[in-house]
């Protein structure tokens, strides 16, 4: 029999030796696997999760060994202080081991995966671990990796046993004794906590996976015990809610659970709402396409119209591309994440329910213990109460620990999902808006008001009323009440007589006249634009009317057949004579002019017109007639706005290429004003300062400036490029769009100024060609010096001497009347626009003017 002292020495030796072995084993393991994290990673092994804080354990163990060696070796029995060593490392030990055990607890599924027991086999990982194990086996006698991994868990539970052993063989009064007792106590507490933790985990595991079976299997498991249990729980719950029996209250837990339920509910609702919203957006985009397809069908033969065509393209792109992208990104970034997250909530919910059950069990047990009078059963009941308490507390603690974490993580996920969703939505809006932007440049739309819905409706109403009015006019069987808005104030009386269904009285006369055109027009109009009085040949009387009504500079002829492409447009045949009322459209665009054909007024494209020159009386050679009509000189007179510009820019009349036509005193009307503009008199007449052109300055658009909406065009292009590059650049594109939006807004502001019902009112004003504002001011600054220049009689030489081969009568003051055979001096063999068919000549008296070149013949000396 060994003495107590020898025994104690042996225990200490054993303690030290086992600790060394233990550390060595762990070190070998760490050496093999943890030294090379790259390799493990490449093989798909998560070292951090598999080994946890193994290195910390090794450190703690090494520390313990060192302390033990220091305090026991080479020391006498009396001074071998083991308890203190443990107390010193206890804190570190506690941290390291509780973390390790926690991690080790969750290792099973991971290990199953590496080991190939689960479907998600990772052959690389398995092989890698097997290789490591082989190396390890050479150096230690281990069985497999889990057996190594569990060593710290076993070790921590072994310390209390070893210390107890030591305690037994330590004599009372030994210095080490109090420390030992303390160490035993604390290390036991730690081991219990770890054990408790493990037990909780097992409980949680049990209840988490429980009750997931089907109803039938649950019914089959139903036995007397469960029925009683559930019955008593129900009874307890009822009585506790009625306040009849005391119930355990845990405010902290209730708060946590409430938060959890809120998170769960919020996420659930968000997921549901999001689904509904995405669906509605889908419906919206597909319906948009459906509408456009219906429009195309409605347009029938004319569905090639570019507006319809482009709108179709846009909506197709929206549905096939933009919406799809939106849907994809939502279904990639948001939906699956939320679905996964929601699936995670099942476990906690079950556990929470179970926790309440267990709490009820515990409460009823406590009640039973209290009420029990039977001493024999007291003990048994107390045990049951203790058991119920343990289970309840285990669940409670675990939930308290983990549910807040779950809530936090869920919240983070939700927030990121919201962000991802918003980003997708933003992209959708931006892309669609960008695509729509290009549609605004279509001719049909460009003339439409930009701005609020009211502006759009208003512009629409104007156009709509016009078109319905026209319809009522054209289609005699349509009664007026179909389009109640169509009776405009201006021609109300005209229509009021027609409100009668048959409108016979006005009809018959009109009809007989119209019937002349019926066959022709109907045949031609099918498939052709029906806008306004199409295809009606201009009558001679209409031409005469126009010629008398308008001044010559307002008269233009159509160079080609003009098909109306917009509302208010009118149809022109090539050669039709028109009076130009206004050289711009309501939007201020100088490309469309408001003209009068004698039978109708409306818009035509300016480039379909050329100035009209009446040469019908001239008996010119047939080949020249067409040439002449096609090439009327561009005189100062017709382009008055150009003249002052040239003049002012050069700041000297000398720079002015041609002698100015003299003022014709017999024709002082508007011409006088134009000439004032060209050559200001020293003292302009007072009334000139109040010239109506002043009122019109605002209308003028410089000819060479691009159409206003072209700015949209440019910005639209840049946005296209920018916004495609990345998600983030969408911001920029939006900014750009905003910029152009605010910049573009005022462009359309003047739509209200346009009153289509009062075109006649414009006639007076329009007779005066408009003047550019800047030009006007410049003119005022012009010094008086360049006043009127006397016409210079050109020198007539043999070189420039021509004579008139045909008589020519000047049609306006820029032209020169020629008698047959009259000699003239050629000053310039083209007009201001470089048209060589009109020559600028001077006669003997020094009068100058334009004449058709082919009316002249070179004078040859015999």
């Amino acid at each position: 029999m060994l003495s107590v002292r020898e025994q104690r020495g042996c225990v200490i030796m054993e303690l030290l030796q086992t600790e060394r072995d233990y550390r060595m084993n762990l070190e070998v393991c760490a050496d093999i696997f943890l030294k090379n994290p790259e390799e493990a990673k490449n093989n798909g092994v998560d070292l951090k999760r598999l080994f946890g804080n193994l290195e910390d354990i090794i450190d703690v163990s090494a520390l313990l060994i060192r302390k033990l060696e220091e305090s026991t070796q080479m020391k006498k029995y009396e001074h071998q202080m083991v308890g203190k060593c443990f107390l010193d490392v206890l804190d570190q030990m506690k941290d390291a081991y509780s973390l390790y055990c926690k991690n080790h607890d969750q290792l099973q599924p991971l290990w199953n995966r590496y080991d190939g027991k689960v479907r998600l086999t990772q052959p690389d990982a398995k092989q890698y671990l097997a290789r490591g194990l082989d190396v390890m086996r050479e150096r230690t006698n281990c069985f497999d990796i889990p057996s190594v991994l569990i060593k710290p868990v076993q070790r921590i539970l072994k310390y209390p046993l070893l210390l107890n052993e030591l305690h037994k063989c330590t004599e009372d009064g030994h210095e080490d004794k109090p420390d030992l007792i303390l160490a035993i106590d604390r290390i036991t507490g730690m081991a219990t906590r770890i054990n408790e933790f493990k037990r909780r985990q097992d409980l949680v595991e049990k209840y988490r996976s429980e009750s997931s079976q089907k109803l039938t299997s649950r019914l089959s498991k139903l036995n007397l015990h469960t029925v009683m249990k559930k019955g008593s729980r129900l009874g307890h719950r009822i009585s506790s809610t009625l306040g009849l029996s005391p119930a355990t209250k845990d405010d902290e837990f209730n708060r946590v659970v409430q938060k959890f339920h809120t998170v769960e509910k919020t996420i659930k609702i968000f997921a549901k709402d999001k689904q509904a919203f995405v669906k509605s957006v889908e419906d919206f985009s597909t319906q948009g396409l459906a509408v456009v397809e219906a429009v195309a069908e409605y347009y029938d033969k004319r569905n090639r119209q570019q507006e319809v065509e482009q709108l179709r393209t846009t909506h197709r792109v929206i549905v096939t591309q933009y919406w799809r992208e939106f849907d994809t990104s939502v279904n990639r970034d948001v939906t699956p994440v939320l679905d996964k997250l929601l699936a995670k909530f099942a476990g906690p919910n079950k556990l929470i329910a179970k926790r309440f059950d267990k709490m009820a069990d515990f409460d009823s047990m406590s009640k039973k213990v209290e009420c029990n009078k039977d001493q024999t059963r007291q003990r048994q009941l107390q045990d049951q109460q203790q058991l119920a308490k343990h289970v309840y507390e285990a669940l409670n603690t675990q939930l308290l620990e983990e549910v807040p974490r779950l809530c936090d993580l869920s919240l983070q996920i939700l927030q990121d999902c919201i962000q991802a969703f918003l980003l997708a939505r933003k992209q959708l809006i931006g892309r669609i808006a960008r695509h729509h932007l290009s549609l605004l440049e279509l001719p049909l739309v460009a003339s439409f008001a930009n701005g609020s819905a009211e502006d759009i409706t208003e512009t629409f109403q104007i156009k709509y009323n016009l078109i319905t009015e026209q319809l009522l006019d054209d289609i005699s069987i349509l009664p007026a009440h179909v389009f109640p808005n169509a009776c405009p104030s201006g021609s109300g009386s005209h229509h009021s007589s027609q409100t009668d269904l048959r409108r016979q009285s006005t009809r018959n006369s009109r009809r007989s006249l119209q019937l002349n055109h019926i066959n022709l027009s109907v045949a031609k109009t099918v498939g052709v634009n029906t806008n306004m009085n199409r295809n009606v040949q201009q009558s001679g009387s209409q031409r005469q009317y126009l010629q008398s009504r308008y001044q010559s500079h307002q008269l233009f002829t159509a160079t080609e057949r003009y098909e109306a492409c917009d509302l208010l447009d009118i149809y022109l045949n090539a050669g039709d004579l028109v009076g130009v009322l206004k050289r711009q459209d309501p939007m201020g665009s100088p490309h469309r002019w408001y003209v009068d054909t004698g039978s109708a007024q409306g818009f035509v494209l300016a480039n379909a017109l050329r100035p009209y020159h009446d040469d019908s009386w001239v008996t010119a050679p047939p080949d020249t007639t067409t040439a002449v009509t096609n090439s009327r000189p561009q005189t100062i007179y017709e382009k008055p706005e150009k003249r002052p510009l040239t003049y002012c820019e050069n700041q000297a009349p000398v720079a002015y290429p041609y002698p100015t036509p003299t003022v014709n005193p017999t024709n002082p009307s508007s011409l006088v004003q134009h000439q004032y503009k060209v050559h200001p008199t020293p003292e302009p007449p007072v009334q000139y300062r109040h010239d109506p052109i002043e009122h019109h300055r605002y209308e003028e658009v410089p000819e060479d400036s691009p159409p206003r909406y072209s700015r949209l065009d440019v910005s639209g292009d840049t946005t296209t490029g920018a916004a495609n590059s990345s998600l983030l650049s969408f911001d920029e594109s939006i900014d750009e769009k905003q910029g152009l939006k605010s910049g573009g807004q005022p462009l359309y502001g003047n739509v209200d100024e346009f009153d289509p019902y009062a075109p006649v009112a414009h006639v007076e004003k329009s007779q005066t060609p408009t003047v550019e504002t800047t030009t006007y001011h410049r003119y005022e600054e012009v010094p008086e010096a360049p006043a009127i220049r006397a016409p210079v009689a050109p020198q007539i030489t043999d070189e420039n001497l021509y004579f008139a081969a045909y008589p020519f009568r000047a049609n306006d003051t820029n032209q020169l009347t020629l008698e047959f055979g009259q000699p003239v001096a050629l000053i310039k063999d083209r007009d201001l626009n470089g048209n060589s068919q009109w020559w600028f000549v001077a006669d003997k008296a020094g009068r100058t003017g334009y004449v058709p070149a082919n009316y002249l013949q070179k004078y040859h000396k015999k």
């Binding site: 509605s280 974490r405 996920i413 999902c417 962000q419 156009k463 509302l567």
Partner: protein, 256 residues
């Protein structure tokens, strides 16, 4: 198919050549009219449905943000709250835009199309009238034949004269009516496009307006997207799956 005058006309035997031709004209016109009416009705229906869709988008978007802002979570979490507040404001503006869009569509497309549908009815009435006159014409023709075959009593001659007078008037009326229909129906069918042009322009405009305003509104509340750089898809996916992983590791969460 009472509106279809052809059924009866085709049976009638007393057609003269020109009338036959006119009838064929009318026949083809009427079928074109039917076709046009079908497309009009379809367009009307689809446009109406589009309006419903806009309102549905509004409804669901507002539901989304309202539900979120009603959640206690929003009141507790400052960050989430600021995001949802911005989003909610945007939604309100977006709803306004949507309503404006819907109203404009209603005023500029749905209403006019409704009127146009009414116009179809008027044209049908015109055809009915024509049909009526057609019948009258047949009747008088018949009478005339009857009286001319009868014994030439003074009474009968008088009658015949009257009938001939009536016939002449009706014939004249018929001719006018035929010509009017032949002229007006194709004209009407063709006009539908001109009629719809302003609506189309308004539709394009208001749609662009709708999306443009949404862009503007979104931009004003752009702070709801907090950290844009974090949303490169890879980074985002990594973060989310990392969080899900962490959740998986909780013991209260089952992993299967």
């Amino acid at each position: 198919m009472s509106w279809n005058p052809l059924k009866k006309l085709s049976k009638s035997q007393s057609m003269v050549g020109s009338q036959v031709m006119n009838n064929e004209n009318i026949e083809s016109n009427v079928s074109a009219l039917n076709q046009a009416e079908v497309t009009t009705k379809k367009l009307y229906k689809e446009t109406k449905r589009l309006n419903d869709c806009i309102l549905a988008v509004n409804r669901f978007e507002s539901k989304m943000t309202t539900d979120l802002s009603n959640s206690v979570l929003c009141q507790e979490d400052q960050h989430l709250r600021s995001v949802v507040e911005e989003w909610h404001t945007f939604t309100i503006e977006s709803i306004k835009n949507g309503e404006e869009f819907a109203t404009t569509i209603h005023k500029t497309a749905i209403e006019p199309l409704k009127r146009w549908k009414m116009a179809f009815n008027e044209i049908r009435n015109g055809i009915k009238r024509y049909e009526q006159i057609k019948c009258d014409l047949n009747k008088y023709n018949h009478k005339k034949q009857k009286y001319s075959e009868k014994e030439k009593t003074s009474h009968n001659i008088l009658k015949l004269k009257n009938v001939e007078e009536e016939l002449k008037n009706t014939q004249q009326e018929y001719n006018i009516e035929t010509q009017v229909l032949n002229r007006d129906i194709p004209l009407f069918i063709e006009s539908r496009i001109d009629y719809f042009q302003p609506s189309l322009a308004a539709l394009i405009r208001s749609e662009a307006q709708y999306w443009g305003s949404n862009v503007t509104s979104f931009n004003e509340h752009n702070s709801m997207i907090t950290d844009k750089k974090d949303f490169a898809t890879n980074e985002y996916c990594r973060r989310q799956s990392q969080r899900l992983d962490q959740i998986n590791r909780l013991s209260i969460v089952s992993n299967d």
